[in-house]
């Protein structure tokens, strides 16, 4: 039995499609993971033996890039609602490009961290610096999953499977992308306040 077939039989729940619920629950689990990292960071810092470090200025640029990508994603979403498919393609393309640019930017920020004597591991490392790499790295991993999601949606758009009455995939992609952007802004703010 195809599960989607059962959906037409009844309308209960939060009024959300099951795939939306699945996504929201997965987002909660990602939130818990980063809550663990950041609270671990604070607990660890308060116990002392904690090396201060400089946050690379390039992170600000990356944050602006990812904020812009959220805006282009939202534009793509609104365009899909208005059935302006050409703009959806452009919006998704810009978002994908900005997402890739963010990843490249993070990579260069790793370089800036090393240049500032903040290391991930080894004899000169301190958990303070290692935490920064872990936060950025795990976030980047999730961003890659987000990019894959965007690519899948773009393929659906090219096949004319996304329009004002088929908003589920692009809606979910938009939600996930905003979450990833918001998560990064939270991490950036967190590191700004606690480095």
């Amino acid at each position: 039995m195809n599960p989607s077939e059962t959906l037409s039989e009844k309308e209960v729940g939060l009024g959300w499609h099951p795939k939306r619920v699945l996504l929201v629950l997965l987002i909660f689990s990602i939130v818990m993971m980063f809550a663990a990292f950041t609270s671990g960071y604070i607990v660890r810092r308060d116990e002392g033996n904690w090396r201060e470090f400089d946050l690379p200025a390039s992170l600000l640029l990356n944050s602006i890039i990812i904020a812009l990508s959220s805006a282009s994603m939202q534009w793509a979403y609104f365009s899909a609602r208005k059935d302006e498919i050409g703009r959806v393609k452009t919006g998704l393309g810009i978002t994908l490009a900005l997402g890739l640019a963010f990843l490249v930017g993070q990579y260069f920020s790793f370089g800036d961290l090393v240049a500032g004597n903040t290391y991930f591991g080894g004899a000169d490392a301190n958990p303070s610096g290692s935490f920064v790499y872990v936060l950025m790295g795990v976030h980047a991993f999730h961003l890659v999953t987000g990019l894959i999601f965007l690519a899948v949606v773009l393929k659906r758009v090219l096949n004319y499977q996304v329009h004002s009455r088929a908003m589920l995939s692009i809606g979910n992609a938009t939600l996930y992308w905003h979450f990833l952007g918001g998560l990064w802004l939270y991490l950036y703010l967190f590191l700004l306040l606690n480095h």
């Binding site: 195809n2 599960p3 009844k10 209960v12 909660f28 689990s29 993971m33 663990a36 490392a125 301190n126």
Partner: protein, 628 residues
Amino acid sequence: MSDMAAKPNFSPSVQAQGGIGTAPVPATEHGDHLHHDDHEHHDQHWLWKYVFSQDHKQIAKQFLITGMFWAILGGTLSSLFRLQLGWPEGSMEWLTPFLGKWIQAGKLNPEFYLALVTMHGTIMVFFVLTAGLSGTFSNFLIPLQVGARDMASGFMNMLSYWFFFLSSVIMFSSLFIETGPASAGWTIYPPLSALPQAIPGSGAGMTLWLVSMAFFIVSQLLGGVNYVTTVINMRTRGMSMSKLPLTIWAFFLTAILGILSFPVLFSAALLLIFDRSFGTSFFLSDIYIAGQALSNQGGSPVLFQHLFWFLGHPEVYIVIMPAMGMVSEVLATNARKPIFGYRAMIGSLIGISLLSFVVWAHHMFVTGMNPFLGSVFMFLTLIIAVPSGVKVFNWLATLWRGNIRFTAAMLFAIGFVSLFISGGLTGIILGNATLDIQMHNTYFVVAHFHLVMGSSAFFGLFAGVYHWFPKMFGRMMDEKLGYIHFWLTFVGVYLVFMPMHYVGIAGFPRRYYAWTGFDAFSQFADMNKFISIAAIIAFLGQFIFIFNFFYSIFRGRRATQNPWNSTTLEWTAPIEPGHGNWPGEIPAVYRWPYDYSKPGAELDFIPQNVPYSQTQSSNLPYEQDMAE
């Protein structure tokens, strides 16, 4: 679904109970679905039907069988270390064919003893009582009891099993590597787990443990989000949250706990992997090993304990809550009474779930934490006694003056309540920081958690298997063998764990390979022998269950559609439901799941799908209003 066409007796109307319970099925609907499904996979290959199945019932059976495999293995490991503890001077030469180099000069290798304890804990907590218990019954019962054709995503559900399988294979393979499996305890505290050079079991075995657990967590998340989504989105018409069976409430909250706590364990495991293999120092600082100073600076092993127990405490409720839900269901059905305090039962489950996130540090009273902090966690821990007490009171009140049918499932459900009370009472003792500091490293703690979470969760599992076996396999398990299994297990469990409380209070330390070097403990030699004999007999008794299970799959008495005269929706489905569960329309729900022995009713149960208009004689005034 092609198998449904082959067996005409699947039509529910043939098996309808007492004229109520099952709405007649329009044949055309049946035909429509059949056609549709045949179109998708013509002549389904057995590989897709039994192995890579996306049917929740098949996946549930896969979880159950894999869980049983792990339970036998976990029990075998415990028998091995009970042999060591009961007869520390005895020769184990005869085990050499099985254990090979782990037996040296007739003695069990001490390193291997640590590995046995570690793997016993890991297997039982994660692979049996998490995956085997909630993996089996959440999968099996959620769609059937809420009235859905399958899980929200059958594909993710299948992935959930196969990630579990992959994780199982990795964990199992770690038993056979040269340096032995992980040996730092199931809680894998650093620095023992973080330094590959510390002990043999900290090497490759520990790496495999961490990789295996990473896959296990992925499996739990895929399963958990599916369970929650199914309960939220896929309920049938009329199945409001306040009409859900308590099993579903328990599975729902268990899945939420898993979604919120397993990612934290993943974080901890990830940091530990970085410490082990990438030179970071999250949990390591100022360590000398084999006379050499390590370069790691600034880490904190206590941080790991915080992260671990933030999962670890909800984990014990992930283990026990599905058992609580199933026991509530089995008790009400077999006492032929509504569950006492249905809403209080839901409230207490929610209370336990919320509290489970704010008590983790009671596992860490001996880490030297600030006594004020300790007292906060102590206070929160003791509050858990309130919802637990509500549940126990309601179970006993459900039994009170019931028309009890002592089926095998019912015996195990009553046994669950008994063990939960016995084990729960010592929880109140250990929840007190001052008492815990005294008892923490003794067998008292071992006795406590084996009763309240280990044994009682197993009893819930057995109750569930005996009760829902007819739905799973269309046949009944043998009741007589069930009784023998119950009494051996019930008496056995008490004979094993009651004496452990006693030796624990007397100060007998846990985790020791041998206690013969300490005169003070030699007086417990007989007691230890006794515990070991009881444990091995109780373990061997489980093979009666294994035999009964597999024998009954093929040769058991054929089940009727609703053998226990139960009210919930799964018993309105055909005896062996195909993929899609109901051949025709999904039944709608009109009433709560506990209409047992309702005054004025024809029978002593009214299934959930019977509208009030058909039960004029037993309706309460407000129900009569709804009927009109």
